[in-house]
C-alpha cells in the first residue's frame, strides 16, 4: 500500500523539478480540490511504470497551461499551437515528471521501466478508491496528480 506521507514530498519534488527545468514554472501545494465540472476542462496524461511497485501516474493539466508552456518554452505563436503540440507537451512533461519521481524511489543499483504516455480526455474515472490524489498550483494554474498502485511487490 502506498504511504501518502512518504510519497507526497517525493512527488512534489519530482513535479517541481519537471516544471522548473522544462518551463521555468514554480510549483506549490494547494488545499483546493477540483470539482467534477472543473476537471471536465482538463486533459490528462496517463503513464504506467514498473519500479518498486507497478502503478500508473495520471497528470491533469488545462489547455491554457499547455498553451502557455508552448509559447514560453518552444517560442511558438498561437497559430502554431495545435492540439497535437499540446498533447506532445503534456506527454513530455509527464514522462519527465515520472522519470524524476521513479529516480527518487528506485535504489541506484536497480532499474525501472516506463510505458508510453497516453492522452485522455473526458473519460476520467471518478472512483477515488486506491488512489492518491494530489493538487498543486503551477504558477496560477491548478493541476492534479493521481498515483495508483496496480501491483504490489514483495
Amino acid at each position: 500500500m502506498i504511504n501518502l506521507k512518504e510519497m507526497e514530498p517525493l512527488i512534489f519534488d519530482a513535479l517541481s523539478d519537471a516544471f522548473e527545468n522544462m518551463a521555468f514554472m514554480e510549483v506549490n501545494r494547494t488545499e483546493n480540490v477540483l470539482t467534477e465540472a472543473e476537471l471536465a476542462k482538463y486533459i490528462c496524461s496517463s503513464l504506467t511504470f514498473n519500479a518498486t511497485f507497478e502503478g500508473v501516474i495520471l497528470l491533469y493539466l488545462t489547455y491554457d497551461l499547455l498553451a502557455q508552456i508552448a509559447e514560453d518554452l518552444y517560442s511558438l505563436d498561437a497559430s502554431e499551437i495545435t492540439e497535437q503540440v499540446e498533447h506532445d507537451i503534456l506527454g513530455e512533461i509527464n514522462n519527465t515528471f515520472v522519470g524524476e519521481y521513479l529516480s527518487k524511489i528506485v535504489p541506484e543499483n536497480e532499474t525501472f521501466t516506463m510505458g508510453l504516455p497516453e492522452v485522455k480526455k473526458n473519460d476520467f474515472s471518478q472512483d477515488d478508491d486506491g488512489k492518491i490524489i494530489l493538487h498543486y498550483l503551477v504558477e496560477e494554474w491548478q493541476i492534479r496528480v493521481e498515483l495508483i498502485e496496480t501491483v504490489q511487490k514483495n
Partner: protein, 129 residues
C-alpha cells in the same frame, strides 16, 4: 558542418532538440528527423550521420534497440549516439553506456545540457567537425 539525426516519436520533442542544437552547436548543423527507430535506421542508411540523438522510450523500435542495431551495423557502428531518457537512474545509464552510447542525458533537455554534450564529443575526438 555536422550531420545529425534526431529520433523521437513526439514531433514537439524533435523540434525542441533541433532548436537546442541550432542554438548551441559550434558549427553549422544539418538535421534530419525520424519518428521511430525503424525510420531512423532507414534515414541513417541513406546517408550516414555524424551524430545520432535518440529518445529512449518510443513505440516500436525503442532507443535501446536502435542503439544496439547502430552499434552492431558495419555501416553505422562508428556513429556516436546520445540517448535522451526520462529514466535517469545510474544503473540504467550504465547499461546504455555499456551498449555503446557515448552519452546518456536525462530529460528535460536544455540548450546548455545538449551543447555541453556535443562539445565534449568534439573535444574527445568522438565527433569530427
Amino acid at each position: 558542418m555536422i550531420n545529425v539525426v534526431i529520433v523521437d516519436d513526439s514531433g514537439t520533442a524533435r523540434m525542441m532538440i533541433r532548436k537546442c542544437i541550432e542554438i548551441t552547436a559550434p558549427v553549422e548543423v544539418d538535421v534530419r528527423e525520424a519518428s521511430s527507430g525503424d525510420e531512423a535506421l532507414k534515414v541513417m542508411k541513406e546517408k550516414v550521420p555524424d551524430l545520432l540523438i535518440s529518445d529512449l522510450n518510443m513505440p516500436g523500435m525503442d532507443g535501446e534497440k536502435l542503439l544496439k542495431f547502430t552499434k552492431a551495423s558495419l555501416k553505422l557502428n562508428e556513429v556516436p549516439v546520445i540517448i535522451i531518457s526520462s529514466a535517469g537512474n545510474p544503473k540504467r545509464k550504465e547499461e546504455l553506456l555499456s551498449f555503446g552510447a557515448e552519452t546518456v542525458l536525462q530529460k528535460p533537455i536544455t540548450p546548455p545540457v545538449l551543447g555541453e554534450a556535443i562539445n565534449d564529443l568534439i573535444t574527445n575526438g568522438v565527433l569530427n567537425v
